[in-house]
């Protein structure tokens, strides 16, 4: 299979939280239409990687190219406007906004985002809760809202940070189906996930992180062969 050009190419990404150096040269790429999953134990820098790509962590060096354009010196609002959307681990639902305002908050950065009807088709619960305060929703509904609202923006690359954390199995299944549907619609997804079973059903490729570095990388097809290594890495 010929290599498609990378939609997102991260090279030698270093990042700092204040004085502490947390990413030590992360290099990875995500090709158009792929679901790529970052694996690793807690605190190895997966979330930090997403935040550094997104410009939320401002002290960072290296290179982040998206569609060939260098983003490393841009602010996070400019990075969002260049076509990347981020769904944070803590979901980031605004309590002073109702569900509809939450949905409409992220800026539309490109044409071709999902309209509200298509978002409701993916997450029917949201339609009935439009006028509720954002944080009055259940955990699962909040996660749906958090994913739903970034689909409106027209961004084709989604960075999803632990979308299944703390959710009931039936909700996890629904989120999984949704991510599958998004992939089928041509979205490209960089996923951080602790739930390996969940990731295994979706991902095309995996990167494994440890101590702020990428320590391994394999395709879904090699998953079986890599299971033992993975157990080692993840300590499961």
């Amino acid at each position: 299979m010929p290599e498609a050009p990378a939609l997102l190419a991260v090279k030698e990404l270093e990042a700092w939280y204040g004085e502490s150096h947390v990413l030590h040269g992360v290099t990875l790429d995500v090709r158009t239409g792929e679901v790529v999953t970052l694996l690793g134990r807690n605190g190895v820098g997966k979330t930090t990687t997403l935040k550094a790509v997104m410009g939320i962590i401002e002290s960072r060096t290296g290179s982040v190219r998206f569609e060939g354009k260098e983003l490393i010196r841009l602010s996070s609002d400019a990075i969002a406007r260049s076509g990347i959307a981020f769904c944070p681990e803590e979901r980031g639902i605004f309590s002073s906004l109702d569900v509809k305002e939450n949905l409409l908050l992220p800026r539309q950065v490109r044409p071709g985002g999902l309209d509200l009807d298509r978002i409701f088709a993916l997450f029917p619960n949201l339609r009935e809760r439009l006028n509720s305060q954002g944080t009055k929703l259940s955990g699962g509904e909040q996660q749906m809202l958090a994913i739903g609202r970034i689909l409106r923006t027209g961004a084709r690359l989604l960075l999803l940070d632990e979308p299944t954390e703390g959710l009931a199995p039936v909700i996890v299944e629904q989120i999984g189906r949704t991510i599958g549907a998004l992939k089928a619609q041509g979205f490209t997804i960089l996923l951080v996930e602790q739930n390996f079973q969940f990731a295994a059903a979706l991902a095309d490729r995996y990167y494994v992180m440890e101590h702020g570095r990428i320590i391994d990388h394999f395709a879904a097809a090699d998953l079986k062969a890599s299971t033992e290594k993975l157990h080692d890495y993840l300590g499961v």
């Binding site: 996070s76 609002d77 908050l105």
Partner: protein, 295 residues
Amino acid sequence: MFEIFGIPSQALFGQLLLGLINGSFYALLSLGLAVIFGMLNVINFTHGAQYMMGAFAAYLLLQHAGIGYWPALVIAPLLIGATGVVIERLFLRRLRKLDPLYGLMLTFGLALVIEGLFRNVYGSSGLPYQVPESLEGGRNLGFMFLPNYRAWVIVLSLAVCLATWYGIERTRLGSYLRAATENPVLVRAFGINVPRMVTLTYGFGVALAALAGVMAAPIYNVSPQMGSDLIIVVFAVVVIGGMGSIMGAIVTGFALGVVEGLTKVFFPEASNTVIFVIMAIVLLVRPAGLFGRTG
């Protein structure tokens, strides 16, 4: 003339009106402070000076450009709001990542500098500013005499306060503002230029203070210390209402103006301190303020 609780109705309604007038200014000023505090987390001690600058802008526009009250009502807030934008860009922005105390010190210092400059140039005796012709005189309501200009101040203040509340609580732009108050980092990652919003919010809060200044010019004298006299009370109002609550600032502003007016009727000795007594009680019972969110 009739009496209520042994007080002549003229005196009672007169003080109520005065209370509502003061309340109009308390509400406008504490609203500006609340808007600024919500977005910038800065207690804007320059607010009184900016109110004074609004009054002076109206005065100077009239003296040097022949521009009267009505255009000044728009131009002065725009001009002073623009100076607010400059202050945010030049100074406050650099303090964003520091302890909020630095913002407080900076704005306090700025207030002293600005008031000092105006005192140097214009002295400390007040300068007169006429009530606009169309609002001269008043009407007899039977139970009291209502000067037209004072009625206008109350109506305009109420309208501006409610419009601001509506804009923040009920519109799309307002939802950006609320969201950015809650989690600016994430709002920025959603493609919204939060630093520019912060700048404009500060400019808007300052413009509200300047608007209050223009409205005050025909009632009080235009003088360099008019802001510092008022702002102490306004800070007490803000503490009582709860920092950062929009409706809280408005309701508390008007209510405390009225309370103060009534105190002047029933127990005049306490009229200068009643707001601070209420503040002390509120701080003891509800430290976050009557409308403030705790935590």
